[in-house]
C-alpha cells in the first residue's frame, strides 16, 4: 500500500451544484474528507444531503443537472469520468450504504450470490473464492455463522443483520470512501448503537474516509470528526464537531441543537425547541440566505448574497448577522 498523503483528501468537492428542472437542490457545496476521517452531513429532510452523496457516486436521477468546480476522488476527476469509468469505481474504491436495509438487498437472490456478484464484477474472482471472501467479511461485521447467512435470502434476516450485510457488501473491495446515507434511521435504538459502533471500528481499522449522512445530532456528536450542517442545498456551517457544537454560530445550527431534549436539563412541561416552517424549495436564481424566512433574526441584509464567514480556523458559517447578537436575541 502506498503511503497516505495526509494533506490530500480522499474526497474533495468544490462548489457542487445540482438542479432538478428549476429546483436548485444543491447550491455550491464544498467539502473534503481525509483518510480515516468521518465527515457528517446533517440537516432536515430535503436539504440536499442525499443528493450530494448521489452526485458523488454519479447516481443522480436522469433529470438532475450537475455542475461543480471539481469533484476529486483520490487521483480521479469524477467530473471528467465517463459512466463506465464511474461504474468501475463504484462498489470498488467508493461504496455506499443506504437507509432502508429492508429494501436494499435484492429479494430474488441469496446473500451469498449478491455478495459474490460484486467480487466477480470488480475482481473477476471465481464463485468459491468470492464466497470465501464474502464469509470473511460477514464475520468481520460481527455476523456469527456466516456460512449459514450466505445461503439465506434477505427476507430471512432481521433489519440489523441486513444492514450488517450491506456494510459487509460495501467493504468487499476495500473501498477508500464509504458513503452511509442514514444507515441507522430505520433500525431500533439498540441495533443502531451496534451498527454505529461497528462503523466506527471498521473505519479506524481500515482507514476509511466516511461520509455519514444523518439528521440525528446525537450520531454526529458520537461519530464525526468534521460536521457540515446543510440547509436548503447549502452548507450553512462547517467545522470540527467540538467547535460547531460548542460554539454554534449559524441560527439554523443553534435551532437544530435546541430541538434535542436533554435529560435532566429539559424539565417536564417545558416546550421542546422547534424551528417553525419547513425547508423551502429553492428555485434557480435565488439569492440571499435560504433560512431567512424561518429565522427569528432575519433582516433586509439577509436578501443579499451571504459571504462565507470565519468563526475559528476551519470553522466557517454562512450568515451575515453578528453571532454575538443572534445568540443574545435567542
Amino acid at each position: 500500500m502506498s503511503t497516505p498523503i495526509l494533506d490530500r483528501p480522499v474526497l474533495d468537492i468544490a462548489d457542487l451544484r445540482v438542479d432538478f428542472g428549476t429546483v436548485a437542490a444543491v447550491r455550491g457545496v464544498s467539502l473534503h474528507i481525509a483518510r480515516g476521517e468521518t465527515h457528517c452531513l446533517v440537516g432536515e429532510s430535503g436539504c440536499g444531503k442525499s443528493v450530494t452523496a448521489l452526485a458523488v457516486m454519479g447516481l443522480l436521477a436522469r433529470n438532475g443537472r450537475l455542475q461543480a468546480r471539481h469533484i476529486r476522488f483520490q487521483d480521479h476527476d469524477l467530473l471528467g469520468l465517463k459512466e463506465s469509468g464511474l461504474a468501475r469505481l463504484r462498489g470498488d474504491k467508493m461504496a455506499m450504504i443506504f437507509q432502508e436495509p429492508m429494501t436494499s438487498l435484492n429479494p430474488a437472490y441469496t446473500v451469498g450470490s449478491q455478495m459474490a456478484e460484486v467480487l466477480r464484477h470488480h475482481r473477476g474472482l471465481k464463485r468459491t473464492a468470492a464466497l470465501d471472501r464474502a464469509a470473511e467479511l460477514l464475520s468481520r461485521v460481527g455476523i456469527t455463522a456466516p456460512g449459514l447467512r450466505l445461503g439465506q435470502f434477505p427476507h430471512q434476516l432481521s433489519g440489523g443483520l441486513r444492514q450488517r450485510v450491506m456494510i459487509a457488501m460495501a467493504l468487499l473491495c476495500d473501498p477508500e470512501l464509504l458513503i452511509a446515507d442514514e444507515p441507522t434511521t430505520a433500525l431500533d435504538v439498540t441495533v443502531q448503537a451496534q451498527i454505529l459502533r461497528l462503523l466506527q471500528q471498521l473505519q479506524r481499522d481500515l482507514g476509511l474516509a466516511l461520509l455519514l449522512i444523518t439528521h440525528d445530532l446525537g450520531i454526529v456528536a458520537r461519530m464525526a470528526h468534521q460536521v457540515s450542517v446543510m440547509y436548503a442545498g447549502e452548507v450553512v456551517e462547517t467545522g470540527k464537531v467540538a467547535e460547531v457544537f460548542g460554539n454554534p454560530t449559524h441560527p439554523y445550527t443553534r435551532g437544530l441543537l435546541e430541538c434535542i431534549p436533554i435529560p435532566g436539563k429539559v424539565k417536564r412541561g417545558d416546550r421542546l425547541g422547534s424551528i417553525p416552517g419547513v425547508v423551502p424549495r429553492i428555485q434557480a436564481g435565488f439569492t440571499g440566505c435560504g433560512f431567512r424566512d424561518r429565522c427569528a433574526h432575519a433582516t433586509v441584509a439577509c436578501t443579499a448574497t451571504i459571504p462565507l464567514q470565519q468563526a475559528e480556523s476551519g470553522h466557517r458559517y454562512l450568515c451575515r448577522l453578528d453571532p454575538a447578537w443572534t445568540r443574545q436575541a435567542a
Partner: protein
C-alpha cells in the same frame, strides 16, 4: 405460508390438473393416439362415438367426414393447440417484456415511444390483422405463430412496464448501481427476477388467448392448414355435418372449452397465490 380460500384451492387444482393432462397428452400424442390421424377411410365416414347407438369400440369418438379416427385427431390436436399457445406466448413475452422493462426503467422519451406503440397496437383489431396477414402470406403453422406472437405482446408490455416502475425505485436497484453494476446487469439480474411473478400469470392467460385465436383463425380457414388436426379446423370441417352429426363439432369444441377454462383457472389461482404472497 401461502394459503388459498378452499373454493379457490379446488378450482386451481382442477385447472392445474386439466393443463397437466392436456400437456401430457400433447407430449405423448403419437404413443396415445390409437390410430394415424391422417389416414382416411371413406367406407367408415361419420361413425358415431362408441357410447351412441351404432358406435363401435374401434373408434371411441367416432370418425369424421373423411373416415379419420376422431380420438386420434383430437389427441394430435392437443399438440397443435399447446404448441401454438406456448410458442406464441414465448414470442409475445420476449417482445412485450423487453419493451415494458425498457419503458418502465428508462421512462421519459423511451416510455413515451413504447406507450405510443402500445396504444397503436391496441387500436388495431386483432382478428382482422391476423386474417389479413395470413391471407397475404399464406397459412402455415409458422405464419400463425409469428402473426399471433407479434400481436399479443401488449399485456406483457403493460404489466412489465408498471412492475418495473415499482421495482426501479427500490433501494436494491440503487444499491446495485452503487456497487458498480452495469445497466444490462441491473435490468437482467436485478429488475427482471423481481417482476417475474405477475408475468407468469400474464403468460398463462396469454396461452389461453393464443389457443382461442388459433382456433378462430383455423375455423375461418386461415389458421393451421388441413390436413393438420387443429381443433378449430376440426370444428370448421365439421360444421357442414353438424345437423345430423352434432358430436363432430361438440367433441373439439368441448376440448377447446375445457382446456381454456383449465388454463384460466390455473392463471387465476396463480394470481391469488402470488397476490397473497406479495402482501405478506
Amino acid at each position: 405460508m401461502i394459503r388459498l380460500p378452499s373454493g379457490k384451492h379446488i378450482a386451481t387444482g382442477v385447472g392445474a390438473g386439466i393443463v397437466a393432462i392436456v400437456s401430457l397428452v400433447a407430449i405423448f400424442a403419437p404413443l396415445l393416439a390409437p390410430q394415424d390421424p391422417f389416414v382416411q377411410n371413406l367406407n367408415a365416414r361419420l361413425i358415431v362415438p362408441a357410447w351412441m347407438d351404432g358406435g363401435s369400440p374401434a373408434h371411441w369418438l367416432g370418425t369424421d367426414q373423411l373416415g379419420r379416427d376422431y380420438l386420434s385427431r383430437l389427441i394430435h390436436g392437443a399438440r397443435i393447440s399447446m404448441l401454438i399457445g406456448v410458442l406464441v406466448t414465448i414470442i409475445s413475452g420476449l417482445i412485450g417484456i423487453t419493451l415494458g422493462v425498457l419503458a418502465g426503467y428508462f421512462g421519459g422519451k423511451t416510455d413515451d415511444a413504447v406507450m405510443f406503440v402500445i396504444t397503436t397496437r391496441l387500436s388495431i383489431p386483432l382478428i382482422l390483422v391476423a386474417l389479413t396477414v395470413v391471407a397475404l402470406v399464406g397459412s402455415s403453422f409458422m405464419v400463425v405463430i409469428l402473426t399471433l406472437g407479434l400481436l399479443l405482446w401488449v399485456q406483457f408490455a403493460v404489466v412489465a412496464r408498471t412492475t418495473t416502475m415499482q421495482v426501479r425505485n427500490l433501494d436494491y436497484i440503487a444499491a446495485a448501481q452503487a456497487s458498480g453494476a452495469s445497466r444490462v446487469h441491473v435490468l437482467l439480474r436485478e429488475v427482471l427476477p423481481n417482476i417475474l411473478t405477475p408475468l407468469v400469470v400474464v403468460a398463462t392467460l396469454e396461452i389461453a388467448l393464443a389457443i382461442l385465436l388459433e382456433a378462430a383463425l383455423s375455423f375461418l380457414g386461415l389458421g393451421v392448414p388441413p390436413p393438420w388436426p387443429s381443433w378449430g379446423l376440426m370444428i370448421a370441417e365439421g360444421k357442414d355435418f353438424m345437423f345430423f352429426s352434432p358430436w363432430i363439432i361438440m367433441v373439439p369444441g368441448v376440448a377447446l372449452f375445457v382446456l381454456v377454462l383449465g388454463i384460466n383457472l390455473l392463471g387465476d389461482g396463480l394470481r391469488d397465490l402470488f397476490g397473497t404472497g406479495r402482501t405478506q
